[in-house]
């Protein structure tokens, strides 16, 4: 039987009293790649943030389970330590904190048996060369003065090092050129077999590199249609208006 990573049941979420997610259901098993597509404001980013535990979002009804465990028991850092990862659409800048220091501390916080010293450096070097990242990244400050593409690469680097069992990727493909898109996809494909992946995107083009098992169309806070990779193509071609009536 497949191993369940994420189960969302009848989820309702509000921000400042305004309902954003309205009755969403989704189950992701190990080894599955799910894609959620939808217009701006459909609630896609809210979904990623609420699963990771952002304090600004209020769950008004429904439940989220990670590996069978209700998530409301877990603080944000505990979710990370349990194996959840969010690749941010807009990663925060942490001035004065070097990427190398940050990665080392983060890996030490999250992984049960973190590599140390030489073993860590080896793993780091390997991951960085996979993502075609220069070593000079390590002495820069976290996301400080990074281009959009650099930020996304750093997110994927963290994902490779933290080895999550559930990865939420919030518009990781936005603003990437074709090379960066290929590199980022490589990172996703590397962790995908052992994890559950939820990719939030506007575009079909990422799916030239990453093969999803399920594609979901999200409209007004709920999933209105689910299909295979062909649905992504259809959504890109036809837009979402044809689904509005279905919702």
């Amino acid at each position: 039987m497949s191993q369940e990573m994420l189960r969302i049941e009848n989820l309702h979420v509000s921000v400042d009293g305004t309902p954003i997610i309205k009755g969403l259901n989704l189950t992701i098993n190990r080894g599955e790649i799910h894609v959620i597509m939808g217009r701006n404001g459909a609630g896609k980013s809210t979904l990623a943030n609420v699963v990771m535990g952002h304090p600004a979002y209020e769950i008004t009804a429904g439940e989220i389970h990670f590996q069978g465990r209700p998530l409301d028991e877990l603080a944000v850092f505990e979710r990370a330590r349990a194996g959840m990862f969010l690749s941010f659409q807009y990663p925060a800048v942490i001035p004065g904190v070097q990427v190398g220091t940050f990665l080392k501390k983060s890996v030490a916080s999250v992984r049960d048996d973190p590599p140390k010293g030489r073993a860590f450096r080896k793993e780091l070097n390997e991951a960085m060369s996979k993502l075609e990242m220069d070593k000079s990244f390590l002495s820069r400050y976290v996301n400080d003065g990074f281009s959009g593409g650099e930020k996304k690469r750093l997110e994927i680097l963290q994902m490779l090092l933290l080895k999550p069992s559930l990865a939420l990727l919030d518009e990781t493909d936005s603003g990437l050129d074709i090379d960066a898109l290929r590199i980022v996809s490589k990172g996703i494909n590397e962790i995908a077999p052992e994890a559950g992946c939820l990719i939030i995107t506007h575009y079909q083009r990422l799916l030239d590199h990453v093969k999803p098992h399920h594609v979901h169309a999200m409209i007004d806070g709920a999933i209105v249609k689910t299909g295979g990779p062909e649905l992504a193509l259809e959504l890109e071609e036809r837009g979402y208006d044809w689904l509005d009536t279905a919702a």
Binding site: M52, R79, A80, P91, A92, I94, G96, V97
Partner: protein
């Protein structure tokens, strides 16, 4: 260490104290006689006694500053301070000869270890005087003088007489007058022409007794084309009663010389830290103050540079951390007296748990000083609603050719930063610690590595248990 002491220490890991053993201890309180007694005990030349007495009279006549934290200043009881305490009869050259209690203290502070690893010389002052002093032989052979100030006065009276009080006159302010009257200990350094001292030399100041007054006096002269890096650290036990630390530091950088003076001040929260630090930079000389204020109850300190010779440069990097019950009133002063002089001032402060930090700065360009450049940057980070940060910058620009930049910012830790870090496995406290260390990074990267590591640990400790 007694249980009572342990309790008082709290989170401040340097708050332990030794039994108060001493060979000479003056009664509390200040008078002209006390001033004369200190001078006589030290067997000083008459000119020094005269300066002390003059300074004492000035101190008596001089009003308290009417700025800074007036309430706290007024609450200082000068009659409840011990002005001189000798804990060891001589300054030793070997740690094994230092009395056990005192040696243990410095061991715990890591001084002998640091000396072996990366320092060119060490002075350890305990209460009023140096108990240990040593300099690497190769430096001594090059003619570098590094002594405690009392010994400096004895062995090089002509040099001391020539420079003492020339950078900070006793009449500069009430506390420079007090220091000049009762000074004891501190460092005396002379670096000969063209000599570059590669390893930093360090002075460590420790107050152990209750209600102690420590008044060290430091004079550093870097002769033409020489360089020196001086590092100082300071700690004290945590007591419920106050202690007073009031130092005067004078630096003279001759033509083409470079002095860097780094401080990590970590007094316990019962110490008033009222210090006057000033440098004169002659032609093409550079003076750098790297000034960290983490501890104390009230600090008032504004490292200054007089850019006296053409092409001289001043660099002041200061950080202040104001936690519960602390007021850090710190900053920098730079006076451009000569043409084509340049300066950079970077000040960063953090206020937390009701702490208060103030930046007080002065930038002056004299009419004859053409072609000067200066950049001033002040950043404040406020960690909660109860804390406070103020900025009091003053600029007096007498020459229109000056090229000046001034930037100031006040920020809070954003919830996006916290969420981002927590999503990477950091607890809220660890996330705060990381953000705070990052904020101070422009300062810590200027410190010797050992100090930087220690400071980062210290700040992380300050962030613990602080989030409700």
């Amino acid at each position: 260490m007694s249980e009572e002491a342990i309790e008082a220490v709290g989170d401040y890991k340097y708050g332990f104290h030794d039994p108060e053993n001493h060979t000479i201890r003056f009664d509390k309180g200040l008078s002209e006689q006390v001033v004369r007694d200190i001078s006589e005990l030290k067997n000083e030349p008459e000119w020094m006694t005269d300066i002390r007495v003059k300074a004492y009279r000035h101190f008596e006549a001089r009003a308290m500053p009417d700025w800074g934290n007036c309430n706290l200043l007024e609450s200082i009881n000068f009659e409840n301070v011990t002005y001189f305490l000798r804990s060891s009869n001589q300054t030793e050259k070997n740690w094994d000869d230092v009395p056990d209690d005192i040696k243990n203290t410095f061991d715990r502070l890591g001084i002998p270890e640091a000396e072996q690893k990366w320092l060119g010389g060490v002075t350890a002052q305990y209460e009023s005087e140096a108990v240990y002093h040593s300099i690497r032989e190769d430096l001594e052979e090059q003619g570098v003088i590094f002594l405690d100030m009392d010994t400096g006065l004895k062995t090089h009276p002509e040099l001391v007489k020539k420079f003492f009080g020339t950078v900070v006159p006793h009449s500069d302010n009430k506390f420079s007058a007090l220091n000049t009257a009762v000074w004891s200990g501190g460092s005396f350094i002379y670096v000969p022409k063209g000599i570059s001292v590669e390893m930093p030399v360090q002075a460590y100041f420790r107050i152990n007794a209750k209600n102690m007054g420590q008044f060290e006096r430091t004079l550093i002269i870097a002769d033409e084309g020489s360089t020196i890096h001086y590092v100082e650290g300071c700690t004290a036990p945590s007591y419920s009663t106050d202690s007073l630390h009031s130092a005067v530091v004078e630096l003279v950088a001759m033509e083409g010389a470079k002095i860097r003076y780094s401080t990590v001040q970590n007094w316990s929260n019962n110490v008033y830290n009222l210090v006057t630090k000033r440098a004169v930079a002659h032609k093409n000389a550079t003076v750098e103050w790297v000034d960290g204020n983490i501890g104390s109850k009230l600090t008032m300190k504004y490292p200054s540079v007089l850019l006296k010779g053409e092409g001289a440069h001043a660099e002041v990097i200061s950080v202040a951390y104001a936690g519960e019950g602390q007021h850090q009133d710190a900053g920098a002063k730079v006076h451009h007296l000569a043409p084509n002089t340049t300066s950079n001032i970077l000040s960063k402060s953090i206020s937390k748990n009701g702490g208060r930090s103030s930046y007080r700065g002065m930038l002056q360009v004299m009419p004859k000083a053409s072609g000067c450049r200066s950049k001033v940057v002040c950043d404040a980070l406020i960690l909660d609603e109860n804390s406070r940060s103020d900025t009091y910058p003053t600029m007096e620009i007498g020459n229109s050719s000056a090229d000046l930049e001034h930037e100031a910012s006040v920020s809070k830790v954003s919830s996006d930063q916290l969420f981002y870090l927590m999503s990477r496995g950091f607890t809220e406290e660890a996330a705060m610690g990381l953000i705070v260390n990052g904020f101070f990074e422009p300062f810590t990267r200027e410190l010797p590595m050992e100090y930087a590591v220690e400071l980062n640990k210290l700040l992380e400790l300050e962030m613990e248990g602080s989030i409700g």
